[in-house]
């Protein structure tokens, strides 16, 4: 207890010093450099199990990269299976009370809880994934997964024979609608005739439902599938039925060695390392981080060797363009399903528009659930 006390006092003293030194910086940028001997305690809160082979596994991998990269300078821990209801606030608060100075809340539903606890612990840095509310000591971060979806679309559009693509989608929220749209736009960039059929399964993880949806899409003529759910079920069905599939969030090659065109994965590690370093250096500032292909957070890997050269070339070109920033997925001209121009040539959707996107691009079949 007394150690914690000293730490707190030190922290307070240091914060006064810092505020005096770097007037203009916000006061909580307290420069943990003071406790060079004390490692920075970093905690992660996960919505599901760490071994789900999807979203949570990716964050856990990022945590381990952070621990490996910074070694003795950080001490990381996690709490898994934290429900988004009333429990999140207690867990996040407990982590802060236990001396964690950087806390990553990795699910959208933790937003209110993170906001409330951030107010109670002004000297702790909170980072909330996929949310939109920030505070002085609460930042948000997100991966531009739609860039991965776009690149998967390029491959699917190049490989399809029926010109019908299928998408197993989870919940009709902007993040997912964006991926359906990006997948379709990517396919259209190499094959303007394609249509994307979508089935909403209203779950992040339910192999049974995902399997049924994939089978239905194939029965409707889709011969290249993608998904925004967490299990490899869609890829497994594609493998059995002899159509193409995508790996999502993690490489699913072992489940679908012949069907998986490539896997779009998220690498959170570099971002977690940078954030921890910023907090230790006292240079962390609240804000909104969205990293994609250019920053190496979104990667498309494990490409099927049998992809023909023309498609491969189109893919490489787009990946390069995303990398150097000369191309944006949602740059005009883009039409919605009614044919109305939503993004004019020469402009692109900004972050606010991307975050609230709720319309299908032309080429997606069916109506968006309301």
């Amino acid at each position: 207890m007394s150690g914690l006390h000293t730490l707190r006092r030190l922290t307070r003293l240091r914060s006064t010093l810092t505020a005096a030194l770097f007037a203009g910086f916000s006061a909580f940028a307290y420069a943990a450099g003071a406790q060079a001997a004390e490692p920075l305690k970093v905690a992660f809160v996960y919505i599901g199990p760490v071994n789900d082979a999807g979203w949570n596994a990716a964050h856990e991998k990022g945590r381990m990269e952070l621990q490996a990269a910074l070694g003795d300078q950080v001490k990381t821990s996690y709490v898994e299976n934290v429900s988004e209801g009333a429990d999140a606030e207690r867990v996040i608060r407990q982590l802060a009370a236990d001396g964690n100075k950087l806390i990553f809340a990795t699910s959208f539903g933790y937003m209110q809880a993170a906001l409330k606890v951030a107010r109670m612990f002004p000297k702790t840095v909170f980072m909330h994934a996929t949310g939109y509310k920030t505070a002085k000591n609460l930042g948000v971060y997100e991966a531009s997964t739609y860039e991965g979806a776009y690149l998967m679309g390029v491959l699917a559009g190049g490989m399809t024979k029926s010109n019908t693509l299928g998408y197993v989608a989870s919940f009709p929220i902007p993040e997912v609608i964006r991926n359906v749209d990006a997948f379709t736009l990517g396919a259209q960039s190499v094959n303007p005739k394609i249509k994307t059929k979508v089935i909403w399964v209203n779950t992040w993880y339910d192999p049974g439902k995902e399997r049924q949806a994939a089978e239905t899409l194939i029965a409707q003529g889709a011969d290249a599938l993608c998904q925004n759910t967490d299990s490899p079920a869609t890829a497994q069905v594609a493998e059995q039925k002899g159509v193409y599939a995508c790996g999502w969030d993690s490489d699913m090659k072992k489940f679908a060695p012949k069907a998986q065109l490539a896997a779009s994965v998220v690498d959170w590690g570099p971002f977690y390392i940078k954030t921890a370093k910023d907090v230790m250096a006292g240079t962390w500032k609240s804000g909104d981080t969205q990293w994609g292909v250019a920053e190496g957070m979104v990667k498309v890997e494990s490409l099927l060797p049998t992809i023909p050269a023309t498609t491969r070339k189109a893919f490489d070109a787009k990946e390069q363009a995303l990398h150097d920033g000369s191309f944006q997925v949602f740059q005009g001209p883009i039409k919605d399903q009614s044919g109305a121009v939503k993004v004019t040539a020469g402009s692109a959707l900004d972050e606010t528009q991307l975050r609230s996107l709720n319309w299908y691009v032309d080429g997606v079949d069916g109506a968006l659930p309301k």
């Binding site: 821990s77 299976n81 429900s83 209801g85 407990q94 959208f108 209110q112 009709p172 659930p369």
Partner: protein, 361 residues
Amino acid sequence: MLRLERRPLPSARMRLLAPLIAALLMFVTGFAVFALLGKDPLAACAVFFVKPLTSLYGLGELLVKTAPLLLCAIGLAIGFRANVWNIGAEGQLTIGALAGTGVALAFGDTESHWILPAMLIAGVLGGMAWAAIPALLRTRFRTSEILTSLMLVYIAQMLLAYLVHGPWRDPDGFNFPQSRMFNDWELLPILVDGTRINLGIVFALLLAGLSWLFTDKTHAGYRLQVAGLAPAAAAYAGFSEKRNVWLALLISGATAGLAGIGEVAGPIGQLQTTVSPGYGFAAIIVAFVGRLNAFGIVLAALLMSLLYLGGEQAQIDLGLPSAITGLFQGLLLFYLLAMDAFVNYRLRRVVRAPAASGAAA
């Protein structure tokens, strides 16, 4: 040699002791599990069972988590005593949360003292309405309420998903699946500063007291009891089975509905896609560990709540996986069922009769 033999009468003492022995065995096994995982068992037990309670906030959280478990378990126990097996408290809880939220949203930003009571009543009625469906199916078509109440859980959850993704979505929420935040006058008042203790636990304890009065002191409670212990006798005495089924399901639906609105108007503060981490199901264990008795259920709910908090603390401090919570809950139920065998049976040491040994010689 040991032999299991039937007792002439079920042992009343064993009935009381079984949950205590089960809890003790759970601790002992937990101790061994911690040691096997390479943790100092004493320190680990301290983290799991003591540390969550060492702060005012922690004690508050214990009560916050006890409230929904207790509310659901009290209602269920009344039904279980009468052999009415409502497995769907989770669904009734969800509908309670929906109904109460509906009232809050209907009033918009109009401030009034009457909105919160109206929300609570709507929550209770919502839970009752959802429980009325299995009651109707059982009394009309003799459909098993075990199956129908369970299946209705999933329908309730789909309805919740539909409303938060659709009509009740926060218009300022960037399309994300959640209702608007409740206003201050739509939230259960906090009773102790610096904690999240709200009126919910008061309701739960009050209803636990009422349920004791109901089962032990009223004729309706007596009828339910007889129906459970001796259905034939109940029928002979002219107690209506239909009335019992309705009563048991409506009561458990009402308490589960109250638990639901208590969560959204309490610690959550808005309607989200997840209202409960499975309180309605965990309450089934609570009801049995508490021997279907009001006082026992209060203790069991507190213990179950502590298992949740301890599991979180063990993850934070010891780096153990979250499965540790499920492990302890499972151990508790497993040992309880094992111990229950000794209510009707006893172990007898059998000494070989001297005549038999003589014959062998």
